[in-house]
Symmetry: C2
Subunit: 351 residues, 2 copies
Amino acid sequence: MATIKDVARLAGVSTATVSAVVNDTAYVSPALRKKVLSAIAELRYAPSLVARSLKRGRSQLIALVVADLANPFFAKIVCTAEAAVAAWGYSLVVFNSDEKPDNERRILARIRMLSCDGILLVPVGGSVESSRELAGMTIPTVLFGRSMEGVDFDTVTIDNRSAARRVTDYLLDLGHRSIGTITGPLHLTTGRGRLDGMMEAMDARGLAPAPEFVRSGEFREDVAYSIAREILVRPDRPTALYIANGVMALGVMRALADLGLKCPDDISVASTDTIPGISGLRPRLTRTEHPASDMTNEAVRLLVDRIDRAVDLPARNIVFQPELVVGDSCGPVSGRTLAKRDPERRGVRPA
Amino acid sequence: MATIKDVARLAGVSTATVSAVVNDTAYVSPALRKKVLSAIAELRYAPSLVARSLKRGRSQLIALVVADLANPFFAKIVCTAEAAVAAWGYSLVVFNSDEKPDNERRILARIRMLSCDGILLVPVGGSVESSRELAGMTIPTVLFGRSMEGVDFDTVTIDNRSAARRVTDYLLDLGHRSIGTITGPLHLTTGRGRLDGMMEAMDARGLAPAPEFVRSGEFREDVAYSIAREILVRPDRPTALYIANGVMALGVMRALADLGLKCPDDISVASTDTIPGISGLRPRLTRTEHPASDMTNEAVRLLVDRIDRAVDLPARNIVFQPELVVGDSCGPVSGRTLAKRDPERRGVRPA
DNA sequence: CACAATCAGCGAAACGATTAGCTGACGGAT
DNA sequence: ATCCGTCAGCTAATCGTTTCGCTGATTGTG
């Protein structure tokens, strides 16, 4: 690789002049400029970003740390974030903490070493360790999708409670009274918030889900599958299930299929979050759609803004409202859904 | 951020000694080592990878350039690649060329400037420009998923023809004779190869698809949707469709749903490639499953190997065989599928 | 004509690490 | 006591940029 010195030598100028031409940072006479440019072309010179980073103290790198890259929602984030940061002249370094606080710690340490200019973080959460690590970091950071207590970063999230409330209300409006739920880990604002929203909606009608049908687990297809099976084989199973995210909903659908249960005939299912592009398959999930692209663009905007104007702006918290999309995975409570059910169970708030 | 000089000063040693401790590259007496380590801890020192890169000429960065990040198959690649490169001590910089040769060129230029140590590339292909750019690059590169003529890089691909042949044979074995296909762009080895394989399978039985039912387009859900509609509204529509990839298959399913057609009752659909996790939804696609993780791990292995032993090894080409997974999206040819069809059309090789 | 002001372009010092080569101290052999 | 080898640890050059401050030429002013 040719260096700036090679260019300078070939063009018969100093490296300072080459730099001035490359960065357009000082006046250079047309004659010299031309010589420099043709030397650059001849040598196929491109400035070394690593040398430039060292000197400028800016790497033009943005780190994206996602808690679960296998989740299509976050995959979508990667896609949008790549385009967004590229538009601002940055490159995207991607990390997957895989929901493990330890990984997150290691990743944050690496990001510091890489001198990334900013961090887009979907925090694993619940980890004192990593929030300490985070607090010690001076790199501009935007929390995405999940927030954290105790630190005040910019955040871009969705209104989990409201989303869950809306979905649950939909089920309640259909007449369901015995509703179960599978949500994510309760130490995550997504898992917790969605459960809270569901409970609120029930509570507003003087109802509460039976504790044995309020379940939480990792946001994974297989986890939801197992939990769903456990719930579904019970004779007193709920008439509807509210599922906290898209991959979990898929797991539930698989459980239904394996047990020979039909949705919505045997049970209604609705979720917050979904999997993109599956609307051609049956059943079409009734769910909220989360504006992943808008959220990501907004997050990148916040981050770049904070990088550029390093001022200690107060933390900004942007909350998106998801939209309810009705599919055909829910039906009214029917004789069939209630068959073989203990009637006392339905919608009665447990003592 | 503390630098190596700060550590040296605090520990009362030279920077060389600190470096020796950090990299464990020379003997340092226990006493000094301890002083250095505690200075490091006190200052929360972490070596600057950018300075290190400049000196060492190694950035520990691997670039992943994907032609379509929105495609779940490639999203999966990102996920696996991140883990794989991390295991080798690298970080992953992700780029999306979005199937545009121009973007690919820009991205490759940027990668050169970033001094990435290696490139994992899903080439857009068909572009003389970018293969030239590629040929001029000295950075170790592994081509993924698609190969390119004219350059001899390591490649990791799947056997597209065989995959397509297997799927088509399955349809033929069910008795289908009038089979249509929607494949990807013909300048891509994936689009072309899968079409070729399908034709081969037909040909082996003395058949050929009607030209108007052999369609190609970008590997996108909406593209497949439109094409599928065009095909499906015709009274002489095929009794089966072979779709070249997963997102296209989703598009076809959506078209079927919108037109009120049932799969497999009205038409059979099978594909190479699929969308992970949708086996709980109906219909379950009959398709080939592509070993995305194995492929990625292998690609990273090849790449790291080439980075480490910079020797000009001959190009290695690894080809994976996908596996046929039978769902319930295909059925035998029935009276219903053949209803209102011009009998002369079926399975007759066009002149 | 002398002097100041302007300005294109250059030289050299950083940035933070690695590392080749050097220095001195120490110990053992003669 | 002298010499040499060993070796822990230091000094300083280097990687490829950017940029501060300088130089010398040119122009304008009195």
